[in-house]
């Protein structure tokens, strides 16, 4: 029997991911550059004054999640694709429990997304004049949105990693899976912008948490099959 817990094995995978990423910076550069470029382009073309006061919460919430979603899509698939490309997947498959691999890579993608949000959201609010009335509500939407997006991206990345043309496949599979989630993320962000009370985001938040839960539970059953076969 193993002396270690699943958590410590997952943390080992997370630690390896971060060490590799900080040395290669491929995902960090891809996500960061994409996010900053689109943010600057949107801010330059639209800015804080070209949208009417009434339309502002709707449009700015949608634009924020478009930037975050597509920036994330440019880097999150790498957690599994790079293992296949570098021929380390088999080495990992023959050493680690599938649950530890999935949990470690999910945590890595989650932290990456939270860092992206921490960088982009304040900049976006400042450049676009996006006034948020319930900061705590927005923080909840961002946090649970990151969990849901990271879960979707991680399991899709595992599914497409062994296919040729994995980048295209990742977009094709992720967009329909993430579309309902994006709708609720935009709704929750809009609610946080419009209402002072944190409770205003709860209807959207319930849907986001449900989608994250469904994705996580499905991933727990699906990943060992995807990983070994």
């Amino acid at each position: 029997m193993r002396a270690s817990s699943l958590l410590s094995e997952a943390l080992a995978v997370l630690g390896k991911e971060w060490t590799s990423e900080l040395r290669s910076r491929v995902a960090l550069n891809a996500i960061g550059l994409f996010a900053l470029t689109t943010l600057i382009a949107v801010a330059y073309q639209i800015g804080p004054y070209r949208i009417s006061e009434a339309d502002r919460p709707f449009l700015l919430a949608a634009l924020l999640w478009i930037i975050l979603f597509f920036a994330a899509s440019s880097g999150l698939a790498r957690v599994f694709v790079k293992e296949e490309d570098a021929h380390t997947a088999k080495t990992l498959r023959l050493a680690a429990r599938p649950a530890a691999v999935f949990a470690g890579k999910l945590l890595f993608n989650l932290i990456l997304l939270l860092c992206l949000e921490a960088l982009i959201v304040p900049l976006y609010c400042a450049l676009m004049g996006f006034a948020v009335r319930s900061v705590a509500g927005l923080a909840l939407v961002l946090a649970f949105g990151a969990v849901a997006l990271a879960s979707t991206a991680t399991i899709v990345a595992a599914i497409i990693a062994r296919a040729s043309g994995s980048g295209t496949l990742f977009a094709i599979l992720t967009v329909p899976l993430a579309l309902p989630l994006l709708v609720f993320l935009i709704q929750g962000t809009r609610a946080a912008a419009q209402a002072d009370a944190i409770a205003a985001v709860f209807p959207a938040l319930r849907a986001i948490v449900s989608l994250a839960g469904v994705t996580l539970v499905a991933s727990v059953y699906l990943f060992p099959v995807v990983w070994h076969d």
Binding site: A3, S8, T19, H87, T88, T91, R93, H228
Partner: protein, 215 residues
């Protein structure tokens, strides 16, 4: 030679009528045999005869199109999902993390395997396999092919496996490296079920039994 403490107890690997097809192409046809502690089985045959495919099936990373493989220890038959716990593999299609140093690679794989050994033991293992202290903290991406092969061999034996599968273990190694692999196989001969896939006459000579595959 130093090996890190892990699970003890022998494992017997039996494979019966193994066949593998990729599309219309038959790569393996009805191969049977047994791996058990006390003897080294050599898998030989020309290029494309299915040596690596057979080892992949025995390792559980590839499903056979027909036939069965079973891992049996004192506790009974091991489920396929747990074979990897008792298994060490070194093969040309496996790689280690190039951004990490040799010590970091060993440290990572020890942690995911739940081993408690520290950097001192890992350094000793690398030295046993011919990697001096100066190489331990360099990124593996800066290593020669032979040095990477030594790191892969260290990963294969890190957890003192009960089953050791070596696919062309001396590839990219110099004469000294070949002697290191020969010593490694000799150490494991008594304690583990060992299979070596090779066309190298020196490696074929290590075998107590031989499975000859044909095209």
């Amino acid at each position: 030679m130093l090996f890190l403490p892990a699970m003890t107890g022998g494992v017997r690997v039996a494979f019966d009528q193994i066949g593998k097809r990729f599309g219309n192409r038959t790569v393996l046809a009805r191969v049977s045999g047994v791996l058990e502690p006390g003897r080294v089985v050599v898998v030989a045959g020309p290029n494309g005869s299915g040596k690596s495919t057979l080892l992949n099936i025995l390792a559980g990373v590839l499903r056979p199109s027909r036939g069965t493989v079973s891992y049996r220890s004192g506790d009974g038959e091991l489920p396929r999902g747990r074979w990897f716990e008792r298994l060490g593999v070194a093969a040309p299609d496996m790689a280690v993390y190039e951004e990490l140093s040799a010590l970091e690679n060993l440290g990572f794989f020890a942690r995911v395997r739940g081993l408690r050994a520290g950097a001192g033991e890992h350094a000793a293992l690398l030295e046993e396999l011919g990697l001096g202290p100066r190489e331990h903290r360099r990124p593996v991406g800066t290593f020669s092919s032979g040095m990477k092969q030594r790191v892969k061999l260290a990963l294969a034996v890190l957890h003192d496996p009960a089953v050791l599968l070596l696919d062309e273990p001396s590839s990219n190694l110099d004469e000294a490296g070949h002697r290191v692999v020969a010593a490694l196989v000799e150490r494991f001969r008594a304690r583990a079920a060992v299979a070596v896939a090779s066309n190298d006459p020196r490696e074929i000579a290590w075998g107590d039994a031989r499975i000859e595959l044909a095209l």
